[in-house]
């Protein structure tokens, strides 16, 4: 080492060993390097946009999109603007994400519990499910389902069940509500339904108390559900028979027009069906593993203690294991929800017009870079929302722990 470097000291310490100086140097160098790199990229991009005639800009957002969007959950017309079309696509992404998350959670919990079943056959089947669906790329699964649905018979030769359920290669149609019937009756029914649910909860609480006090099996949850469902269904039937009017108008799908297109009812179109099936089956495999790990993280003694107190196996699972396992389950579960939201971006490849799919279509006429900057920002917003939820939950459980 040259002499002048050796003599270069600060506070009696050679500068290259002085912690504060070294740390500041690292920070300044890395900060400057990062800023310089980004500036260089931005400068190059700016130069390219100017000199290589690369289209860029956001002026197109106000102009008419003039392209139909196959599936939309808010009103849409080809004469709407690009910006509005992007919002329609974002709503599609959100709808698929919400339904996908609900269904994947249900399926995932079922399979996760089945993985730990004492029934050998069920446990092995669940294992096979997880190992297969987790290890095959989602895109391949989506394309597989896409072509399976495509192989269904066309609309006119489609499968019809009970003259009300139609299955064909454009989707599945089933009866559904189409509007509000008599408002007053709907109001009465809803009030009765809420009362029924409250009654069910009350009955179930009382029975649970009785079980604790007197022992024996009183089936609190089952009875509660039965009471609630009986009131909801019974009041519906009585109201519609007595008044002769239905609280909600129903629409039954049926063939319509020259081409026999199925109209009315609720139609799950092929694209959405494929994305939903693919995303749910794929994500459920991951959720199942998270649920299994969560349940296994609860000590064996907890189950045994629960059983010793007289809980049924299901009761022990519900009131002893699950509440404790949730702490382990929820953080990775939220990251799976985020993954599902992001994975819905593959929908475009199988004909479901979500954000990325619509974006790719738009790039045929308008600047790709601008469109994708907007799309990436939208996804970033969704992701940050999910991480916010995750952080809030983490804070919540750490508060509980510190209490």
């Amino acid at each position: 080492m040259p002499a002048f470097l050796r003599n270069l000291t600060y506070e009696g310490v050679p500068v290259w060993r002085h912690a504060r100086i070294v740390q500041w140097t690292i920070q300044i160098v890395s900060g400057v390097a990062a800023v310089a790199l980004v500036l260089w990229f931005v400068a190059n991009i700016g130069l390219a946009i100017d000199s290589r005639n690369i289209p860029f800009g956001f002026g197109f957002l106000d102009t008419e999109y003039q392209t139909p969007i196959g599936e939309h959950f808010i009103p849409y017309d080809p004469s709407n603007s690009y910006l509005y079309a992007l919002i329609v696509a974002a709503v599609n992404t959100l709808v698929i994400a919400v339904f996908g998350i609900i269904l994947a959670t249900i399926l995932g919990i079922l399979i996760g519990v089945a993985r730990l079943s004492s029934n050998w056959l069920v446990a092995k089947l669940a294992l096979a499910y997880v190992e297969f669906f987790r290890n095959v790329p989602l895109l391949v699964q989506l394309l597989f389902w896409f072509f399976i649905i495509l192989a269904l018979p066309p609309v006119r030769e489609g499968i019809v069940l009970l003259d009300a359920f139609y299955v064909n290669n454009s989707g599945i149609s089933l009866p559904g509500p189409s509007g509000i019937g008599n408002g007053a009756i709907l109001g009465i029914w809803m009030a009765l339904a809420i009362a029924g649910i409250a009654g069910g909860v009350y009955v179930s609480r009382r029975l649970a108390e009785r079980e604790l006090k007197l022992g024996g099996v009183a089936h609190p949850l089952l009875t509660g559900w039965a009471v609630a469902i009986a009131v909801i269904v019974g009041s519906w039937l009585i109201l519609s028979v007595v008044t002769g009017m239905s609280p909600i108008e129903w629409s039954v799908p049926g063939p319509e027009g020259r081409f026999g297109r199925i109209a009315g009812g609720i139609t799950l179109r092929a694209g959405m069906l494929v994305v939903l099936i693919g995303l749910v089956m794929y994500t459920a495999a991951f959720i199942a593993e998270i649920v299994r790990a969560g349940i296994q993280s609860v000590g064996k003694g907890q189950v045994e203690a629960g059983r010793a107190l007289g809980l049924t196996p299901m009761g022990a699972l519900r009131s002893v294991i699950f509440p404790q396992a949730l702490r382990v389950i929820i953080p990775p579960l939220i990251s799976q929800y985020l993954n599902l939201t992001k994975n819905s971006s593959l929908g475009g490849a199988v004909g479901f017009p979500e954000l990325t799919g619509v974006g790719i279509t738009m790039t045929q006429r308008e600047p790709a870079i601008s469109i994708f900057i907007l799309i990436m920002l939208s996804y970033l917003a969704m992701s940050l929302t999910w991480s916010l939820i995750g952080n809030l939950y983490n804070r919540y459980i750490s508060f509980e722990r510190s209490r």
Binding site: A48, L121, N135, P137, L143, F144, F147, K342, M376
Partner: protein, 417 residues
């Protein structure tokens, strides 16, 4: 009159266990019919399973038309690499095969060094698959004798690797790592070709098929781990500038879908470099996949670092280790050991994610499959067959990875110390 004397003293011989506890019946009683609920579950699930198997077997053997898979054949593996467009004269088939031979050489070396059953089985199964492929009953013009011989030659290359590891001083982990790097670079060079050596170059846009997925995945796996470690350390650093740079990088790359990043890699990244830079779409896609994966890797490793007891680092510092030594020799090895499942899970998902290059128009194995059925009348109804086949190909690789990770975990004694 003689009577048999039965009242001998001592315990009676033990009776055999009841029939319900013995053999197959005992097993079924304990595992399938141990209570009312499980018994009914077994019956319902069993009936459903029999029906499902019946339909599956009928479909696989009688209804499905597997001709489409045979029709694509070798193109699943190398895609358009040997097509007229990529390689005039169609004599480039040996180059992917030489790369494959280098890989089997490495596997032989790995077996020789580790000497474990696991490595032996991996090497033998791989080479066995190559040999089996050599005997596929294609016609001579579809699959020439040279192709078949080169496939069988994998046996020799694996044996050479094994012998090198066993009988020379190259039989150490260090040399396996060095050879791996050399092989990776060398196989890229072989695939690329070099005109000054008299080997015609093949444009990287023509690299396709499973080969493309494997190249992207291998590059990503090799590079995303070190980048991820650096990012994780950066995020835990107490230097605010370094920390926030890493946080922003990780959150942005984790916050958007890989497809949008891949799309940008084709539209924006080429613009970010001066026009004189050579443009290589494959390289750009590979970089984006690697960075995407390293952001996830960083979070996994950060989890491992967070789970470490602070006493470990304090003890190391107290013993006089510098902070870089503490990180490198104390914290990181333990942190990584604890998150092996997560790391391998990320490798698996990286391999699966290579299929997304399909969306930006690259000819990976998924795109090859799609092109094989789309717009071809004779294979119109065969799409489920071909995608099932592609799914199984992916599954073989990913499942092997997860199996190996479980074995490594067991050997390192994770969760037992």
């Amino acid at each position: 009159m003689t009577t048999k004397q039965t009242n001998e003293t001592g315990p009676a011989p033990a009776l055999p266990p009841p029939i319900l506890d013995r053999g197959a019946v005992g097993w079924a009683h304990a595992n399938l019919f141990n209570n009312k609920f499980n018994a009914s579950l077994t019956i319902v699930v069993g009936i459903a399973l029999v029906f499902a198997l019946w339909f599956a077997i009928r479909w696989v053997f009688f209804e499905a038309d597997w001709a489409v898979v045979a029709n694509v054949g070798g193109r699943f593996l190398i895609g358009n690499y040997n097509s007229d467009q990529a390689c005039p004269g169609n004599d480039c088939f040996w180059r992917p095969q030489v790369s494959l031979m280098m890989v089997t050489f490495l596997m032989g070396m790995g077996w020789g060094v580790a000497g474990s059953k696991l490595m032996r089985n991996l090497a033998l199964i791989t080479v066995g698959a190559c040999v089996l492929l050599a005997f596929i009953p294609y016609s001579a013009e579809r699959m020439g004798m040279d192709v078949r011989l080169l496939l069988v030659a994998n046996v020799a290359s694996m044996a050479a690797g094994w012998a090198l590891a066993r009988y020379t001083r190259f039989g150490t982990v260090k040399w396996v790592v060095i050879f791996s790097v050399v092989v990776f670079v060398l196989s890229l060079l072989v695939l690329q070709g070099a005109s000054f050596l008299g080997i015609q170059t093949v444009d990287s846009r023509q690299w396709s098929g499973l080969q493309l997925n494997l190249i992207l995945a291998l590059a990503g796996i090799v590079l995303s781990l070190p980048i991820g470690i650096l990012l994780a350390l950066g995020r835990r650093s107490h230097l605010p500038v370094v920390k926030w740079l890493c946080v922003v990088f990780i959150e942005v790359f984790r916050g958007v879908p890989l497809i949008t990043l891949l799309f940008m890699s084709q539209h924006l990244v080429p613009l970010a470099f001066p026009a004189t830079f050579p443009r290589n779409d494959l390289f750009n896609a590979g970089v984006v996949i690697t960075l995407f994966s390293s952001a996830y890797m960083a979070e996994n490793i950060r989890g491992g670092l967070q789970a470490l007891h602070p006493g470990q680092a304090e003890a190391a510092r107290a013993l006089g280790l510098a902070s870089w030594q503490t990180t490198l020799f104390i914290s990181l090895p333990q942190a990584i050991r604890n998150v092996i499942p997560a790391i391998v899970g990320q490798f698996i998902s990286l391999f699966k994610d290579t299929s997304l290059v399909y969306i930006i128009g690259m000819l990976d194995i998924v795109n090859i499959a799609r092109k094989a059925v789309e717009g071809r009348v004779e294979f119109q109804g065969s799409a489920p067959e071909i995608f099932l086949f592609v799914g199984i190909v992916f599954w073989i690789f990913t499942y092997t990875m997860s199996y190996v990770s479980q074995r490594i975990e067991r050997n390192l004694g994770v969760g037992q110390r």
